[in-house]
Each structure stands twice: as C-alpha cells, then as structure tokens.
C-alpha cells in the first residue's frame, strides 16, 4: 500500500494546479496519471483563457461582474451563480500567476497579455498564447511541478505516470483512497490518502466525432459514480461548431475570434439567416453556431452533405501565421491545404462535457475528503453551455481552490490513519474482478462494443435529440452493457496491456454514456447544448434544476437539485 496525504488523479491542468497547491501547504501529494501529465488533453486546448484584464482597447470597461454575467447567460441560466462569480473574481489573479510562472502568453504592442474576442463574451476577454494556449499553460504548470519536486524544503510531490485508477474507496461517507492499475506491470495497488481529487477530464470518446484525445473515455467519472458519488448534468454535451472534416480535430474558436467566416455551398455567410446568430455572427455562442451549421447540413446547403467552410483567407498570411499557426499546421498535415489560400472544411463535433462529478464551488463532493476539479467535475460554472475560454480558466481557478480546501480538510481531520483494512479489502476485491475479466471467455470483442457505442451516441444523442432517438439510445446502451459481460480479452499478459486497460475503461464509458442518455431523456426541454426537437422551449418552471445521476446496477437513478441563483434573474437568452 502507498501512503500519501493527498492523491490527485489526473495530470492535466486542474490536477497539476491542485497538486501544486497541496504541496505549497506542505502536505505529501501524489499525482496518479494514466499518461505522462504533459500528454493530457489539456495540451490540446487552443483558443485561450478568459479573464477581465482589460488589456484590449475594446475591453477597458470589462469587469469580473460582466464576466460572471456572460458566463451565467451563456450557461442558459443553469450555472450556479455563486460559482460563476467565484471563478470570474479569481480569474485575473490566476492568469497573472501563470504569467509569473513563465507562461508565454501572446502580447499586446505595449507588452501586456494579449486578449481577443470569443463567443458569448461582451468584451475581448480571452488571453491566449497563439492557438496553443493549452500546450503553453500545461507546460508552465508542469515546470512548476518539476521545480517543487526538486525543492527540498517542500513536502513530497510524487508523480505516478501511467497508472489507471480503477476504484475509489469510500467508507461510511469518508474517502479513504483509490485502487489503481500500474500499466507498466499490470499490477494493482492500493493508495491510501486522507483526501482524493479527481481531475480526469471529460468523456468525449463516448462519441465517434469528437475533438477529444483518445484517452478521454469518461473512466474518471465512472469510478466515483460507482462509489456512490452522483454525476451532475451529464446530458449537457457541448458540440464545437468547427472541427476538421474527417478527423474532427479542433479548429479553435479563435479562428472566428480573429475574424474568420463560415460559409455554405452557396457561398453565403449563412449565420445571418438565423435570428439567434444574426447579431453575433461567427462569434455567437457555440451551441447556437453548432445547431445552425447542422441545420445547413441537414437542409442540403453543405458541401457533400457533411461540412461547411471556415474561411480565413481574408485575414492574410501574416495574421494567420502569428495568431493561428497551429491551425495552419494541422490543415497542412491532415488535409494538405493551406488556410491562407483555401477555406477549411469543418463540421460540428463533440467537444466538452459540461456535466461531471457533483461538487460545490470548493470542489468538494458529498463524500468527505473526495474532491473533483476541471472537466471531470461539475461545479457548475458552465451550466447548459460553456463559453469558450472558460474551461481552461475553470481548471486553474478550481484546481487551486480545491487544493486549498482539501489541504485544510486534511489538517482538520481527526481520524488520520483509519481505513487500512477497507483499502486492503477493496484491493483484494479488485484483484478478483481483474482476474475474472482476464479469464472471461465470451465471444465479444471489446473494441466492437466501443465502436457501436460511439456510433450510437453520435447518431442518437447528438446536437438534435428527441424522445425516440434517446429511447433507442437507452435500449442500445443496455444491450451493450449486457454484451459487455461476455467480452473476451485478446491479450492477458502483464506489462502495458492496453487491451486490458481499454476493456476496463469501456465499462466506465458504457455506464457514463447511460447517464447522458437518461438525463437527456428526462429533461423535456431545450436549454444550452441540449436541443430537444420535441420540446424546443426552455422550461424554467420544471427544469431550472441540476440533474443528479446515482449509480445502481440496473442503470442510473435520477434526482434533481436547485440551481443557485441570487445575482441575476433567469430570462430568455437572446443574442
């Protein structure tokens, strides 16, 4: 058994920031990451990170109040307003801190952090490092981790690279630690900790067409779900309007923030034809632009009935090279086109999970000592629709807050040292389950199940939903859950058994997918990213509520809880 004061699961932005905070409080912290931290999906974030710094000439009157309001309005009023306020208030401090740690932000002519406009924001508020903001931020944080790892005066900070956490141990409402699989050896190990934080990212790979890394399977949401922690608002899946046709690689909203146009096959800037995007045009919020592109595709005004064009040509080579170099590189490498001379074929794709592990604005879950932050969590600041530039911000704001809160929790804890027996039992049980999976001799190839699940989620639980499509999806996911009992591993060796790891994760994906489906089916309204063709209006009377999904072996049990209001009255969301 391994002992640490705090275990952080996930080495992306939220996890690293939380671990750093715990280390600054002189506690022994371990990071368990499925991949090397710098391979986390945070690295793929392109466009930027929001903070009302007022560095843009048109942003001088920006403030945390306006930032918080834009966040709440963007969320279609499902965000908890206290959390949105907390995030906006801390934003500037966190960005400045990242700059002080060496993050190479792009600069204004007078040397300040540059900012650009993003969808749904009243001011140019998005700080950026070209179109590689996530890459720059995570390397900066990882550098600080290296620094503190090397600093003798700090407490221990240990990174366990390539460990897959398979279960969370909670005893009588108190978190005791986790069980994890070491990919290098195939062995299970128990990690005892007084507090555990999950920062494992989203579950984009429930879908075929996703901008997410291959590692975003949703396992990090499934593990606490199995341990009794509810998942919140899982039906809200964000579809990014502009992903590369074919591979669904993200074409940052920065493309539109810098002035790119969206055109259909008639060469029209079609967003002008829709009332909800007429004013904001290309920088209208993501849910709106995604729906309008999809409508163009469905109504036959798209190229090859599949994509529209993202036209950057008028921006000129110099601006594209300076502000969108990665976009240009991706287009060249994956499509063989240069956006300086040719428009980019794009289509909407799954991008972000607004929902996640149910936590409050301290990052604390209903179980004592169990925390979550980043995309894996649902604080909730994004409500039904996240604004661009707020996801990166959420990771470092709530990573820090959760790190601080869990440190205080550990200092105030009175039953330090309890839980050894529970963890030993959990480890033994997990070993039994693993052995059973290794010896399972059914006829199902796990990768086929995964493929069917992803296709079904894309077709039935996508941008437009109906009772019929969601009911179909529910039938299918139950069928897949049954068939999963008959999976057979193709490889049963120990070291780097990715067949084993991905089959374990597939179980998580299936159970998490069901929370998305069931939540969407029960929410008979359209709000933010969820558009129900059969219920096209928002229904505050019934659904100004968070969905909570609790694990049961028969499928998720739903409950609801109120949204925290108090600053702004919900009203119709008009742009």
């Amino acid at each position: 058994m391994q002992y640490h004061d705090v275990v952080v699961v996930g080495g992306g932005l939220a996890g690293l920031r939380a671990a750093l905070e715990v280390n600054m409080h002189n506690l022994r912290v371990a990071i368990l990451s499925k991949v090397y931290p710098i391979r986390s999906h945070s690295v793929a974030a392109q466009g930027g990170i929001n903070a009302p710094l007022g560095n843009h000439p048109r942003g001088a009157h920006d403030s945390w109040e306006r930032h918080a309001f834009d966040t709440v309005k963007g969320s279609d009023y499902l965000a908890d307003q206290d959390a949105a306020v907390r995030m906006a208030k801390d934003a500037a401090e966190r960005i400045i801190e990242m700059e002080h740690w060496g993050c190479p932000f792009s600069r204004t002519p007078n040397g300040k952090i540059a900012q650009r406009p993003f969808g749904g924001a009243g001011f140019p508020r998005t700080c950026f490092a070209a179109d590689k903001t996530g890459h720059m931020l995570i390397h900066t944080l990882f550098e600080q981790i290296v620094k503190y790892e090397q600093a003798a005066e700090r407490g221990e900070l240990k990174i366990y690279n390539e460990w897959l956490v398979t279960s969370l141990v909670i005893e009588g409402g108190v978190c005791r630690g986790v069980i994890a699989l070491e990919l290098a050896t195939g062995k299970l190990e128990a990690f005892k900790a007084d507090a555990v934080l999950f920062a494992t990212g989203g579950c984009g790979r429930l879908y075929t067409n996703s901008t997410n890394a291959m590692i975003n399977t949703g396992m990090g949401m499934a593990v606490p779900f199995w341990a009794g922690i509810p998942l919140k608002d899982m039906e809200f899946i964000q579809f990014h309007p502009t992903t590369l046709y074919g591979s669904n690689i993200l074409m940052t909203e920065g493309c539109r923030g810098e002035g790119g146009y969206l055109t259909n096959k008639r060469n029209e800037r079609f967003l002008a034809n829709y009332p909800d995007s007429r004013k904001g045009m290309e920088v209208a919020p993501r849910d709106i632009v995604s729906r309008n592109i999809t409508t163009e595709i469905l109504e036959g005004r798209a190229f090859e009935n599949a994509y529209v064009n993202l036209d950057l040509r008028h921006l000129g080579e110099e601006r594209i090279a300076a502000r969108l170099p990665a976009i240009r590189e991706i287009c060249r490498k994956f499509l063989g086109i240069d956006p300086v001379h040719e428009p980019i074929p794009v289509q909407p794709g799954q991008h972000y999970t607004m929902g996640g592990i149910d936590v409050n604005s301290d990052g604390a879950s209903p179980a004592k000592g169990f925390y979550a932050a980043g995309e894996a969590s649902c604080v909730s600041v994004h409500g039904a629709n996240r604004l661009g530039g707020n996801s990166l911000l959420e990771t470092i704001v709530f990573g820090k807050i959760a790190g601080e809160h869990m440190s205080n929790y550990v200092f105030g804890k009175t039953d330090l040292g309890a839980g050894d027996k529970t963890l030993e039992d959990a480890l033994a049980q997990e070993e039994k389950k693993l052995k059973a999976l290794m010896n399972s001799d059914g006829g199902e190839n796990p990768s086929n199940l995964k493929e069917e699940m992803q296709r079904m989620m894309t077709d039935k639980v996508g941008i437009f939903r109906t009772k019929e499509s969601l009911s179909d999806a529910q039938r299918k996911i139950r069928e897949l859950r049954d068939r999963y009992k008959k999976v057979r591993l193709r490889y049963t060796g120990g070291p780097y058994n990715y067949d084993l790891a991905s089959t374990i994760e597939l179980k998580g994906s299936i159970d998490v997918a069901e929370t998305v489906i069931v939540g969407a089916l029960a929410r008979e309204e359209s709000r933010g990213s969820q558009f129900r063709r059969d219920f096209p209006a928002r229904n505050d009377e019934k659904f100004l509520q968070h969905t909570l999904a609790y694990f049961t072996p028969e499928g998720p049990r739903l409950d609801y809880k109120d949204v925290t209001l108090g600053y702004w009255e919900p009203k119709e969301r008009k742009y």
Partner: protein, 239 residues
C-alpha cells in the same frame, strides 16, 4: 483501394528471447488514413496485444513518436499516403529501453529535461497584480523553442545520444535555451553552468538530425549553437 502491409517491431522483454517483426495487412479504409489510425485498426481488429502510446491524435501531445519508414515522426500526423509506399515498417524510439513493443522507457529522457531546471527563474519579485511586461519582439524570440512537445524524436535521431548516454541531448538543451531566450528569466549564469560541461553543449556535433526530424519544425541544433555562443561570451566577457 490497395491493402497496406505493416511490419511492426514486437518485443516483450519479460517473455521473448529477442525482438521480432510481425506483419499485418490493413485495408486503406479511409482517405487521409494516418499511421496511428492504422495502429488502432491493428489493435482493435487484428491483434489486441500490440502496445503503443497515443493520446491527442493531432500532433500536440507527443505520445506517439516512433520510427516510421526510416524516420522518427509522430504516428498521428503521418498520413499513410505521404509515405508513398504500401509497405510500412515501424520501430520504437531509439536510444531508449524497450518496455514492450513500441513502448519505451522515457524516464532517462525526462531526467535530462528536468536536470536543466526547466522553469522560469526570474530572480526578482514580480509586480504583484499584473504581468511582467514583455514586448512582442521579446516574446517572438522564444517562439522557435516554446513549441517543443517533448516527443523525443530528436533524442532518438541524435547520433551523439547513441554513444554517450549522459549527453543532455537536443530536447533538454532546447529547453535550456528556451529559458535563456525568455526576457523574464534572470538565471543565465546558472543555466550556462548546467549545460556548459562535458556532456552538455560541447558534445553536439552539429549533425542537424534533430532539426531534420522535429515534428514541430524546431531547431535544437540552432538552440545549442546559441547556447555555445552565450557560454563562450560568458566565459570571456562575463555576461
């Protein structure tokens, strides 16, 4: 569409007497098919025991660096069609211990990166509630080096790394230069002390293979040359 033949390096040190190549036939099932997608096809449909690392599948995380038809590159951004051959041979990264199949031990590589103190050392207090100013010119100086994704292609292609395991190598040295070039950093002396040594910058033979293979088109050779110039100036002029 024609079928593709993949010859893939296989080795499990715990069970195999020696490495071998396994051959797989993959249909060219889509336009723009990448090597990584082909590897997933093999893992999913043909052989679940194949081990390789991957994450972002868009050329930014650096997980899937490997040796593909004679060159170190990222599997995710390498299109099969661009290889201009229907026979594709894949080996793991070089100069690093094979743990299984295409998975290598990255620890020695990261140890070198960590050795050069890859974090800002500004040496003075930052303005409390605002950024350290940096002009666009100062910022753009760093641009050639801040894009490094630590994929280790350069490390594996370097002939000096092959013969001197202690050589810091192109990636670590590029990172050292990245902080030297940062107008906010104030630790030139310390940084040069770390790299101006037997297994440091002077080991570079300027063969340019690191520059040639870098998937981000960076120039570690140039960065090392920059460090050499600065080290000499520092020795003789003290600045």
């Amino acid at each position: 569409m024609a079928d593709l033949t993949f010859k893939i390096f296989r080795f499990d040190p715990a069970n195999d007497a020696g490495p071998r190549f396994d051959t797989y036939t993959v249909p060219a099932f889509k336009k723009g098919l990448t090597v990584l997608e082909s590897l997933y096809y093999i893992q999913d449909k043909l052989d679940g025991s194949l081990a390789f690392r991957a994450s972002c599948r868009e050329g930014i995380c650096g997980s899937c660096a490997m040796h593909i038809n004679g060159k170190y590159r990222l599997a995710c951004e390498t299109q099969v069609a661009d290889l201009k051959s229907d026979s594709i041979t894949i080996r793991p990264l070089g100069h690093l211990k094979v743990l299984r199949d295409l998975v290598v031990d990255m620890e020695p590589f990261f140890a070198k990166y960590k050795y050069i103190k890859p974090f800002l050392m500004p040496g003075d207090d930052a303005p409390p509630d605002r950024e350290r100013p940096q002009t666009e010119g100062q910022h753009s100086k760093m641009i050639p080096s801040i894009d490094c994704i630590l994929c280790a292609c350069c490390h594996s292609s370097c002939t000096v790394t092959a013969t001197d395991p202690e050589y810091l190598g192109p990636a670590a040295l590029l990172w050292a230069d990245r902080f030297v070039l940062d107008s906010r950093d104030n630790a030139l002396k310390e940084r040069l002390r770390l790299v101006d040594q037997l297994h440091g910058i002077w080991r570079c033979h300027t063969i340019f293979s690191c520059q040639e293979v870098c998937p981000k088109d960076l120039d570690p050779t140039g960065a090392i040359a920059d460090l050499k110039r600065k080290a000499i100036r520092h020795r003789f002029l003290g600045r």
